[in-house]
Symmetry: C2
Subunit: 147 residues, 2 copies
């Protein structure tokens, strides 16, 4: 399916169900999903989805991942309130990665920072590039609710 779509021109349409059926999940049944703030373009985080999380995300418009540590569906923001509303969902050329354009309420990161990518490698140093917008204790109480 994805090989066929390579040759398809812009605006070609196929039934979504047939395309989603051909997604390449890894041996754990998971596929990486990148979340990007739809208007600013900021990359917020990367997490994993199983087929159920993907279907729920498409059905509800609210992003749901699969937590590998908890081995359960992870409705982003269910504890913290920092939800992701789906704006659009995109698949890559070989069907093994998802790009979610989302509208992120507050911080995406469990540390309270807007984005999870706050450690920059700058020559011989690693530099912290942002501060939390909200203290994690405020987001989660004393529970550690990450992936």
């Amino acid at each position: 399916m994805f090989k066929t779509l390579e040759k398809a021109s812009r605006s070609t349409r196929r039934p979504a169900a047939e395309v989603l059926e051909k997604l390449k999940l890894n041996s754990d049944g998971l596929i990486p999903a990148i979340a990007q703030q739809f208007d600013s373009g900021e990359v917020l985080m990367m997490a994993w989805m199983n087929r159920e999380a993907l279907d729920e995300t498409l059905r509800t418009g609210r992003v749901c991942y699969y937590s590998r540590s908890r081995q359960a569906l992870w409705r982003k923001g269910e504890q913290s309130g920092q939800v992701q509303q789906l704006q659009s969902l995109h698949l890559d050329c070989d069907g093994d990665t998802i790009l979610l354009k989302v509208d992120q309420t507050g911080p995406a990161c469990h540390t309270g920072r807007r984005s999870c990518f706050y450690v920059q490698i700058d020559n011989d140093e690693a530099v912290i590039t942002s501060d939390p917008e909200i203290a994690p204790e405020t987001l989660y109480g004393h529970k550690d609710d990450t992936k």
Copy 2:
């Protein structure tokens, strides 16, 4: 290390070597790396790096991945000429994903499209959202040089 950095405030610096040492590679020794065009914010592709590819990327400033299909270092653009110059490199909160801000020459995708994410799920349909900028035959001859 990454747990400690969660509490660090903006502009905190640590030796890069110590941080990179603690990256969480998967059981194949790989870590996902997202490539984003540094100025437009467009997410171009996701691929994988091993430690050697990461070190080479940091050392040379030209992005090098690890090809899972070829089981070899994959210097992006080595066949097609469509290289990625690294602008900055970022790690996520738990040290298991890399974000590369790059300057992409031409198309990132082996299909000749600018971005690999050209299949959008739009309700019950999958829609092709872009056309190739360069024919893949021009980029690769008749060889299929993908990941």
